[in-house]
């Protein structure tokens, strides 16, 4: 079965699913948003700590989500940490796919895009420093 799994998900997805680096609450987060994927009911909450100078000091996520969505959220958190808020807002799905290194079928694309859109909501909803 594991052999089949290799064909289904990339090593990056499998690794990030097993050991996400950014899963968990972010104490003191000041930019937070949560949304669901209506297709499957998956739920992702992104939490960011944005410093007064607009730099993202910490990012994390929690959620009920599949391997692809979890890996995507983890990669999003990775990519935005240390960036300016403007840079983070410019993050695209392609950037995430680039890291995931996996062929994603159309039916699962929402699993990748959900964390990216939640990131956008978090950045929009938070007060500008």
């Amino acid at each position: 079965m594991s052999a089949a799994a290799h064909g289904v998900y990339s090593d990056v997805i499998r690794e990030r699913w097993r050991k996400p680096r950014h899963r968990g609450e972010v104490p003191g987060a000041n930019a937070v948003a949560e949304d669901v994927n209506p297709l499957c009911g998956d739920r992702v909450r992104m939490m960011l700590t944005v410093a007064p100078d607009g730099r993202i000091e910490a990012a994390g996520f929690i959620g009920d989500s599949c391997a692809i969505c979890t890996a995507s959220a983890d990669v999003v958190a990775d990519l935005v940490t240390g960036r300016s808020r403007a840079d983070a807002a410019a993050l695209e799905v392609a950037d995430v796919l680039n890291v995931l290194q996996s062929e994603i079928r159309p039916t699962r694309m929402r699993c990748v895009t959900l964390p990216v859109s939640v990131l956008g909501q978090a950045l929009n909803g938070s007060k500008r420093a």
Partner: protein, 405 residues
């Protein structure tokens, strides 16, 4: 001969190789595959007889009308309806439930009550939410107990003198629970409430007999019972249909029209505005004939045996949780399950890599998911063409999943 040995050659799609494996299709609960006779009947209709129905005074129009109306007779026989006027064609279960909700909705007043259950498919919940909102009515839900059955004591409390509608599924598309239709109908009738039964998962699996169920409305989709997409049935008890104004208007459902008013057509056409799904009706006739030839008792027994095999197999598999009533009781051909540490979508994707098609997600039953405390489940469903060997493949594949990711 076992039923699947007899039926498998009739389903062309079972020849498919998926991801290097012979297709194991365990998603008939979402939509079943079609026997050749259904596909051929529809082709034959399009190649020989197609025209619009009812108003065409030419040979093809007459043939099309005859075939369309023949489908009504087939359905009447299949569900044991008292008359063909009680059989209304719709676009499917969702369409039928929406039509009923809109039609009954117009008769509701502020503070009237609609009772549904927690195990409803969104198709039997959202139309009632819309109606309740429009009319200022109240929506109440019968809870589901831990064993997957309805809380019948709560039902007694929820049905009051203000209850106008009781709408519920015959078979849960997640838990497989078979609800006590006749009993619920009896309690609803005591307060003169209209009963609406969502039979989407029951029609493919159980022998139906409308008079013994006693409900006012019963709806289902052809595509889950070996027939085509795009057509469904709304059975309505004659006395109730007679008492209702049509919920939707258009051609076909009228006798005479003036600019400011119209006279309605007779039953059942009064509830069928617009050009109906004619080829689909032809396909539905062929599907019913297929099921009748096998015999619904045999269909039910076969699917029940596969369901039991799956439940018993999963019970022996570490890390697998199943939902719904135990294997010992009668249930629909549905097994929802969870694999410890894996998300249902990943379960479905990993099984697909082995050619096994199961469904994953909330199954359009989010309130039920919430009650079960999960975001979703994986779900295997069975039809006449599934074999015990396929169940064994599923069980073996699922047993190997926990180490897969």
């Amino acid at each position: 001969m076992r039923l699947d040995e007899q039926t498998r050659p009739d389903f062309p799609i079972l020849q498919r190789i998926v991801n290097g494996h012979p297709l194991v299709y365990l998603d008939s609960g979402a939509s079943s595959q079609k026997p050749r006779s259904v596909i051929e009947a529809m082709n034959r209709y399009y190649e020989r007889s197609h025209a619009n129905v009812h108003r065409s005074i030419h040979t093809l129009g007459e043939e099309a009308t005859e075939l369309y109306e023949l489908a009504r007779d087939s359905v009447q026989r299949f569900i044991g309806a008292a008359s063909r006027e009680e059989v209304v064609f719709t676009r499917g279960t969702t369409d039928g439930l929406g039509l009923i909700a809109e039609t009954i909705g117009r008769t509701l007043a502020k503070d009237d009550e609609i009772v549904v259950t927690e195990l409803e498919h969104h198709s039997n919940l959202i139309p009632w939410q819309l109606v309740a909102r429009d009319r200022g009515a109240h929506l109440k839900a019968v809870p589901v107990l831990a064993d997957g059955t309805l809380d019948m004591a709560a039902l007694d409390r929820l049905i009051t003198r203000r209850t106008r509608v009781v709408a519920f599924a015959h078979v849960s598309n997640v838990l497989g629970t078979i609800t006590p239709v006749a009993e619920i109908v009896r309690r609803a009738r005591a307060v003169d409430a209209i009963t609406v039964v969502d039979g989407a998962q029951a029609a493919p699996h159980l022998r139906l007999d409308m008079p013994s169920l006693g409900c006012d409305f019963y709806v289902f989709s052809a595509h889950k019972m070996l027939g085509p997409t795009g057509i469904g049935v709304m059975y309505g008890r004659r006395a109730v249909l007679d008492s209702l104004e049509p919920g939707r208007g258009g051609s076909e459902m009228i006798k005479e029209v003036w600019i400011d008013r119209a006279q309605w057509n007779d039953l059942p056409w009064r509830f069928e505005p617009g050009t109906p799904p004619i080829a689909e009706a032809v396909g539905l006739t062929a599907a019913i004939e297929y099921l009748e030839k096998v015999g619904m008792e045999r269909v039910g027994e076969h699917e029940q045996a596969l369901t039991r095999q799956t439940l018993e197999g999963f019970a022996r598999t570490a890390g697998v949780t199943v939902y719904g009533p135990p294997a010992s009781v009668d249930r629909g051909a549905v097994v929802a399950f969870a694999v410890e540490g894996l998300h249902p979508h990943d379960v479905a994707a990993l099984l697909d890599a082995e050619g096994i098609a199961v469904r994953a997600g909330h199954h359009c039953a989010m309130p039920l998911m919430r009650r079960l405390g999960v975001v979703g489940t994986s779900r295997a469903t069975f039809s006449v063409f599934n074999s015990p060997d396929e169940v064994s493949l599923l069980l073996a594949a699922v047993a190997g999943l926990r180490s897969a990711l």
